[in-house]
Symmetry: C2
Subunit: 203 residues, 2 copies
């Protein structure tokens, strides 16, 4: 178990019992628990019960982990918008699909999306990720605008505020969703679509 | 300006130009920007352009600042629930008042509420604040439950999920609200109440 890492031939082969993905997932959980800045590679290696050199076998830096996790989360979220844009559903249906699909993504990769949502722009990498988050919003606003124009979404609400409130609801699920909990991600996503489209008031 | 702090007679008198509140507000902004763990008292003093000893004249520790800001935010949020519970409005009106009032609080003290919402439970103090957040939710659920029982809020949605989604929407405003921005906190709070009660769909 403690043999030197150098002898392992493939950079992706990993330590016995841990894949590169396992290492990244454990590191991202630590970042979310302690804060990215406050987490050292030493913390990550001790959580995994491996040496620091074994850890560096899988991954070259904290920043590489951050980039990998955040890119994975943003690719998945952008995929939801790509699909909505390309679909021939009505504008209102596209917005429903966006809300449903975004909740599915954040439940499926909860730790990476949590990391993404907590970025504050403390480095070049974080600034680029925040820029990409703003581009996501810039792509979503016209979809909501189109649904207001088609008469499927009420037009007495400000488009920008409506977009931010809707995606605020979506993102908030990350705070309390539990994998294997009482409600599945599908049920939660459907609750959110009903609440945001039809409202809580008894009609 | 650089005279020794010891000679100042009253612990609340403060340095010329800075009150204790100013120091706390600046520190909380730094905590939110850098992360609480990653911020030192040295960072806070250099942001204010004062010496560390001048800073310690106002405040004894980072933890004291955290406690002060988080307590202020939680007192204000609990005040909104107190008022709803004590009011003789209908259950549905109480829930509307809760949503409206919570958004007003988080816009009025955005930095302290941000700090509160980002706590991860890394100390005894943080654990107590998280416990108090859970008590807030435990007080809100019966109010939503009562509005479902009175027929003002639809009963085909799970009460717990509905509560979390509604307060997720409320809390998300903290991420983008700008004091003095295009929309006032009153306008944003009214948008949220309309969206959450009546839904985005054109009826």
């Amino acid at each position: 178990m403690n043999s030197p890492v150098k002898v392992t031939p493939s950079p992706n082969r990993g330590r016995p019992g841990y894949s590169r993905e396992d290492v990244i997932d454990a590191a991202v959980r630590e970042f979310n628990q302690r804060g990215y800045e406050a987490t050292s590679m030493g913390h990550v290696s001790s959580v995994l019960g491996i040496s620091k050199s074994a850890l560096y076998h899988h991954i070259s830096s904290k920043e590489e982990i951050l980039k990998y996790a955040v890119t994975r989360a943003q690719d998945a979220l952008d995929g939801v918008v790509d699909k909505a844009e390309a679909s021939d559903a009505s504008p209102g249906e596209k917005v429903r699909a966006l809300i449903y699909g975004s909740i599915e993504v954040l439940c499926a990769d909860q730790e990476s999306v949590t990391l993404l949502l907590r970025l504050r722009g403390n480095s070049e990498l974080e600034m680029r990720a925040l820029q990409r988050r703003r581009e996501f919003t810039r792509r979503v606003i016209p979809l909501i605008d189109a649904a207001q124009a088609s008469g499927e979404i009420r037009s007495d609400l400000d488009t920008g505020v409506l977009t931010r409130l809707m995606f605020g609801t979506v993102n908030s699920v990350i705070e309390w969703y539990e994998t294997g909990g009482r409600l599945s991600s599908d049920e939660i996503a459907r609750h959110a679509v009903v609440l945001l489209f039809n409202g809580a008031a008894q009609s």
